[in-house]
């Protein structure tokens, strides 16, 4: 982290960048939040540790409109989102100075809590440079320890890889965290009967409180004005209809980001209700892979996306229809 801060100071001082986009400590030891730093002094508040899950790519939409370059810290998985935003002309590559930061898997406080850890005062071992496999947690009830791997976000268990897809320079090592298959859960749900599937999603989606956190954090949900907020489509009234969240909002959102979602997992990370929203997006990704060949949104900035491109050997609509 210190190397990162030193480098950021250097770039601020020599005028390469006008500001730094990173994270600062929150009120609690496990909730750092995205923050801009405009002076070298302010960087004393800069943090980068295992709880810095937030994908900063989307902030670059607004940062691209500011004077001068913005130094942005991107983890390997965040770079996919950044590429996708370049592809959609939403961010300006020239306005970004990208430091690809190392990652050893990001932590999920809920996973720690679920292991019966309460009253957390401080956590050791979450630093990116820490070699230990265990988190040492001081609680008001005494010290507890939790294996780092057992506290990781779901998305880190199916990590897309250690490679930064776009960067100006890289700081810090990344660690292999993948120990599961990305589509296993989707495959399991696919095998359920329609009634079971409906019950599953009904149960999950009925928890939605429509706080819009998923939409606000999603780098693919970057419309200037969301269709759900626009008076042009008469959909705002429909939002008030019973069971709208369950049956419409998340489904429509998944359709709107289909083919553009990089599977960064932010939707599920920020959901205060713990709804596994990423499953919708992954189902689309799995279908696209199976029907049109493997495709990873954000792998690059110029390839043609399968859903907005046509080739002669594309799957026939009837084949798409039959799959259900």
């Amino acid at each position: 982290m210190q190397e990162l801060i030193n480098r950021a100071k250097e770039l601020l001082d020599n005028g390469t960048v006008a500001r730094v986009l990173g994270w600062k400590a929150g009120d609690l030891p496990y909730d750092p939040e995205p923050a801009y730093f405009e002076t070298a002094e302010s960087l004393k508040d800069f943090v980068y540790n295992g709880f810095c899950g937030a994908n900063l790519s989307k902030y670059m939409i607004e940062a691209s409109k500011l004077e001068g370059k913005t130094l942005v810290c991107l983890k390997p998985c965040d770079t996919y989102s950044f590429n996708q935003l370049i592809k959609e002309h939403r961010v300006d590559r020239e306005k970004a100075y990208i430091i690809g930061v190392g990652c050893k898997g990001k932590l999920d406080i809920e996973k720690i809590r679920n292991q019966g850890v309460k009253g957390i005062e401080s956590i050791e071992g979450a630093e990116i440079t820490d070699e230990a496999d265990m988190l040492k947690i001081q609680t008001i009830y005494g010290e507890r320890s939790v294996a780092y791997a057992d506290a990781m976000l779901e998305r880190c268990h199916v990590c897309k890889g250690k490679e930064h897809k776009i960067f100006d320079e890289q700081i810090g090592e990344s660690k292999e965290t993948k120990d599961g298959e990305r589509f296993d859960e989707v495959s399991r749900i696919e095998k359920l009967s329609p009634e079971e599937k409906f019950a599953f999603f009904q149960k999950e989606l009925s928890k939605c409180i429509r706080c819009n956190a998923c939409r606000n954090v999603c780098p693919a949900c970057s419309c200037r004005k969301c269709v759900f907020d626009s008076n042009k489509f008469d959909s705002s009234q429909k939002a008030n209809v019973d069971s709208f969240e369950e049956k419409m909002f998340h489904i429509i959102r998944a359709f709107h980001v289909a083919g553009r979602c990089t599977d960064c997992g932010e939707c599920s990370r920020v959901c205060p209700q713990g709804i596994p929203l990423h499953l919708f997006n992954r189902k689309f990704i799995k279908d696209i892979d199976e029907l049109y060949g493997e495709y990873q949104a954000g792998d690059d900035t110029d390839s043609k996306a399968p859903l907005t491109n046509y080739t002669f050997d594309d799957a026939e609509p009837s084949i798409v229809g039959k799959r259900g």
Binding site: K65, K87, E88, H89, R90, S222, C223, R224, K225, C226, V227, S230, K232, F233, D234, H256, V257, R260, K304, A305, T308, N309, F312
Partner: protein, 662 residues
Amino acid sequence: MQRIGVFVCHCGSNIAATVDVSKVAEMALMEPGVVHAEDYQYMCSEAGQAKIQDAIHEKKLSGIVVCSCSPRMHEATFRKAAERAGLNPYMVEIANIREHCSWIHKDMEEATKKAVILMRAAVAKVNLNTPLKPGESRVTKRALIIGGGIAGIQTALDIADAGYEVDIVEKTPSIGGRMSQLDKTFPTLDCSACILTPKMVEASAHEKIKIYTYSEVEKVSGFVGDFTVDIRKKARSVDMDKCTGCGVCQEKCPSKKAPSEFNRGLNNRSAIYTPFAQAIPNVPVIDREACIKFKTGKCGICSKVCQAGAIDYEQKDEIITEKYGAIVVATGFDTINLDKYDEYAYSQSKDVITSLELERVMNAAGPTHGHLERLSDGKAPKEMVFIQCVGSRCSDDRGKPYCSKICCMYTAKHAMLIRDKYPDVNVTVFYIDVRTPGKNFDEFYRRAVEQYGVNYIKGQVGKVIPQPDGKLLVQGSDLLDNKQILKEADMVVLATAIEPNPDVRKIATMLTASIDTNNFLTEAHAKLRPVESPTAGIFLSGVCQGPKDIPETVAQAGAAAVKAIGLLAKDKLLTNPCTAHSDELLCNGCSTCENVCPYGAITYEDKEVNDHGIREVRRLAVVNSALCQGCGACTVACPSGAMDLQGFSNRQIIAEVDAICR
């Protein structure tokens, strides 16, 4: 608020027998905006249209809904009627209560309920309609014909004779198509070459016709009246201007092992070849896969013997870009692959052949110089068996569900010709039905049976078993006698089903012309617009649209020409005003619409916008309405809903859905 009139058509009994039309009219009066509703026996008749016009005047209607047949049928009729009464034609909506309702339902109560819902959806849409005005676009006075068979040649000649430029693109080295492979033609038995080759010569000599052989359509953009087409002229390796067509190169070519496409692979040709002696143009091509020079770098004999110095091993494919006002598809057919019909032993015995192969065997220029002989040992056959419907009228997925239409007649022709020339040969035909509708067709078939003694057996063949002595054991059934037949034959001829040329899928995709499940191109209307594709400016000629014999093909080719001429004769076309436009305040500038637009109608501009006080320069989509064809691909792809289609706006469509779900 609109003042809407609803007009419910009985369509004689077509609608009224299943839908309570007066109930639909009565219910319409309860819909928002509806101030007038009535039903009438034939809305499309003069009296019916007068009712609409009177109501527009008397009730000061601002929009109308006609509950009738498909808009494909009469939308234009009712739009014109409304226009004559002073209403903007785009204030007319059709609720299709015939094809979508009365024709497919039996229960009157249910059908009436559905008709009411369809009416409601149309009313909901009209409530949001706005008057639209068409623009104008130019017409390039040149036609493109894809395919140089008899269909393409005839269409080209007819268009050229009317004074318009025509280009023919043919993928093989010569024009002529399937017809050039045929020996004699039914029902008159005149020689195919004698009637076709003069037409080929006429086409090639016509000052208005340009022929690109050994060429393929690579890319099509644009729209009716203004298509831009890339044609790939494949490298012939022979300079067309220098070659005199003397044929020495073909004689001297040491590589003579490539199967002859023209003779259906029954014999071989040289690596440098013209497909047949009467080929047009009479300029050979080098088959680079078979040529020794291209394979090993050594040889070059053709170049040495060519007096004209026409051989050019360095020649490259050439892309020609040309503009056209109309495109005629005439891609023809091929026989189906027989891999799934193992029971007929086609791949096991050389003496089991398809009918098209028999044409080559019987042709004087064919592999046996016109002698009927077994291809395995060259012996004259004594017993011949013809099997009908191989792959046609098939109920499983091995073959085609349709009747190939020409097989009954050419089989009668083959049987008759063989009996005439070789009276000692016994000919047996296994058939399911003999279908001979057509002028002089049944008479022809009866002559084969009565005069020439061809033995017709109603029944299918189950198996053809090659015997050790070279004979073929045919196992079939005689349905009329109700017995199994075992018959020894020297040759078996399979009336193999025909299918559209496989390339047609690719071409249809480029042209955005629709095709059916059998890969036949779909016509705009099965009865009333049989030679037009639903895609404006695309016309259909010959078997690419459905199975046909030569006279039908020629007739359709002429009809397609007339339709193309009708288009080329116009100086300007009215464009569809239902084009897309982008809401500047909602546009993200993400390029999704640009990626999906098949017409290249969308570009991006950096433009200053005032978004509720925020002034900034944004990247915004701009639609060129002269290029936009209103397909709506952009409107569904746009994530923010900024793209909208005039006449089919998102709001209109959602209003329709809401009305249906109410």
